[in-house]
C-alpha cells in the first residue's frame, strides 16, 4: 500500500477487525519493521542508529504508555526527558493544561478513570509537538464533552500544519475533521481518496466493500 499524508491533512482510516489498522500505525510509528517495502518520515527512514525521524511522530495507541505508579505529571516529565525537551517541567504543564488534566496532575495514574487516562495519554502523545500524529481509536473512553474538547484539539493540530492519521471503527466521530478517508481490508486499501461530503453514502460503500 502507498500512503501519502501532507501537513494540515487528516487521513481517517476505517476497516473491520483484523484489517491491519493498528499494524499500519505501528509500522508508521517505527514500532514494527515492514516485511516488505519501507516507511519514510520526511523522506528519512528511522533506523536504530539514527532515531531522529521518530521525533516527528506522536502515537495515541490502545495502550496509554503510562506507568500506573507514577502521576500524569511524572509520566509526562519522564517522556519530556526522553525527547530531550529543553524545559520538561514547562512542557508537562502545558500538555496537561491543553487536555484539562491540571487538577489531577499529581494523582497516580492507577487512580484515574478511563476518560482521564485517555486524556493523559493524549497529553503524552502531544507533549513533544510532533509533526505527525497517529491516532488509534482515540475517542475510546471519552464522554461527550471530552470528545468535543478532543475534536477541538485535533482541529487545532491541523491548523498548526500537523499531519494526522486516525484509525477507527466509527469515522463519524472525526468525519468533519478528515480531509481524506480510506478503507483498509485484508491489509490493503479497498478505498482511498478525498473525504466525500455524505457520511451515510460512505457507510453504504464501506459495507459493500467490507461485507460484500
Amino acid at each position: 500500500m502507498d500512503l501519502d499524508v501532507r501537513a494540515g491533512e487528516m487521513l481517517a482510516v476505517a476497516g473491520p477487525n483484523g484489517a491491519g489498522k493498528t499494524t499500519l500505525l505501528r509500522l508508521l510509528a517505527g514500532l514494527m519493521r515492514p516485511s516488505a517495502g519501507e516507511v519514510r518520515i520526511r523522506g528519512q527512514r528511522p533506523t536504530r542508529d539514527d532515531p531522529g525521524p521518530r521525533r516527528a511522530i506522536g502515537l495515541l495507541s490502545h495502550h496509554t504508555f503510562l506507568y500506573d505508579d507514577l502521576t500524569p505529571a511524572e509520566n509526562l516529565h519522564f517522556t519530556a526527558r526522553l525527547y530531550g525537551l529543553t524545559d520538561p517541567a514547562g512542557a508537562t504543564r502545558a500538555a496537561l493544561e491543553e487536555v484539562g488534566l491540571t487538577a489531577r496532575a499529581d494523582t497516580p495514574v492507577r487512580h484515574l478513570s478511563r476518560g482521564l487516562l485517555q486524556r493523559a495519554a493524549i497529553a503524552r502523545a502531544l507533549l513533544h509537538q510532533p509533526d505527525i500524529l497517529l491516532l488509534d481509536e482515540p475517542f475510546t473512553g471519552l464522554d461527550a464533552p471530552s470528545a468535543d474538547r478532543f475534536r477541538a484539539l485535533l482541529a487545532a493540530q491541523l491548523a498548526r500544519g500537523r499531519a494526522l492519521v486516525l484509525v477507527s471503527h466509527h469515522l463519524a466521530e472525526a468525519w468533519d475533521l478528515a480531509t481524506h478517508v480510506a478503507v483498509l481490508s485484508g491489509g490493503r486499501w479497498a478505498l482511498e481518496g478525498s473525504r466525500p461530503s455524505d457520511l451515510a453514502a460512505f457507510h453504504a460503500r464501506y459495507a459493500e466493500l467490507v461485507h460484500g
Binding site: 517505527g30 519493521r33 521518530r54 495502550h63 506507568y67 500506573d68 505508579d69 526522553l82
Partner: protein, 226 residues
C-alpha cells in the same frame, strides 16, 4: 555520549522511582535473601564443616538468588500499558535503554547485597575485618557481570508467558563463571591469602564484565525491535 548517558540516567531514575513507590521487587528480594541465609545457617552441620569453609559459597548463592528476583522486575514494569513501546517510540538509541536498565538493576541488586552482607556476617559469624574492602570490590566486579547478562535476558523473556520462570533458567548458566570466580576470590580474602593468588580470578571477572557489557549493548537493539 553526554546525551546517551542523560537518557540512560532518566530511565534509571524512573525505574528507581517506580520501585520506591511499590517496593515489591526490592522487598521480596531482600526477604528472600535473608531466608536463604537462615536456611543455610540451620541446614549446615557445624561439626562436619567449619562456617568459614562454607561461607563464600553461601554468600554468593544468596547474592545470586536475590539478584534473580530483583532482575525479574527490570522489564516487567514496562509491560503495564505497553510502556516499553512508549520508550521505543522516542528518539533514543535502544542501547541507552539497556544502559539505563543496567544502572537501575545495579542499584537494586546493590541494595539487596548491602542488606544481605551484614546478615551473612551475623549468621555465619565471619570476621570480615581486613577482608571487607576486598569483598566489596569483588562483589562489585562480579555483580556488574551477571546483572549485565540478567538485564538483557529480562528483556528477552518479558514477552513470554512464564517470564519469572524463564529468567533463572536462562540466566543461571551464565552466572556460573562470575560466581565461581567470586567464590574463589572471597574464600582467599577470608583466609587472608595474598592478592597475587587471586589475580587469575580477578582477570576472569574483569574480562567477563567487559565482554558481556559490550556484547549486551550491541545485541540489545535486536532484542527489543519487532
Amino acid at each position: 555520549m553526554a546525551e546517551f548517558l542523560r537518557i540512560a540516567f532518566a530511565i534509571a531514575a524512573k525505574d528507581i522511582r517506580l520501585e520506591l513507590r511499590s517496593r515489591t521487587a526490592l522487598l521480596s528480594a531482600i526477604v528472600f535473601s535473608a531466608l536463604v541465609l537462615v536456611v543455610f545457617n540451620f541446614a549446615r552441620d557445624p561439626t562436619a564443616l567449619a562456617a568459614v569453609d562454607l561461607a563464600p559459597s553461601v554468600l554468593w548463592v544468596t547474592f545470586a538468588f536475590g539478584a534473580v528476583i530483583a532482575l525479574n522486575r527490570a522489564f516487567y514494569v514496562e509491560r503495564e500499558n505497553a510502556a516499553l513501546d512508549g520508550i521505543l517510540l522516542a528518539p533514543v538509541p535502544r542501547s541507552a535503554l539497556y544502559v539505563g536498565k543496567l544502572f537501575a538493576n545495579l542499584a537494586f541488586v546493590g541494595v539487596v547485597e548491602a542488606v544481605a552482607l551484614p546478615l551473612f556476617v551475623l549468621f555465619f559469624n565471619v570476621d570480615l575485618g581486613h577482608a571487607l574492602p576486598g569483598v566489596l570490590g569483588v562483589t562489585a566486579l562480579a555483580t556488574v557481570g551477571f546483572v549485565a547478562v540478567g538485564t538483557i535476558f529480562s528483556a528477552m523473556v518479558v514477552r513470554t508467558r512464564f517470564a519469572e520462570l524463564m529468567l533463572p533458567v536462562l540466566l543461571l548458566p551464565f552466572m556460573v563463571p562470575p560466581l565461581v570466580g567470586a567464590v574463589q576470590v572471597t574464600a582467599k580474602l577470608l583466609a587472608g591469602r595474598p592478592l597475587s593468588e587471586m589475580m587469575g580470578w580477578l582477570r576472569l571477572l574483569t574480562l567477563y564484565d567487559i565482554g558481556f557489557v559490550t556484547l549486551c549493548i550491541l545485541v540489545f537493539p535486536a532484542v527489543v525491535d519487532e
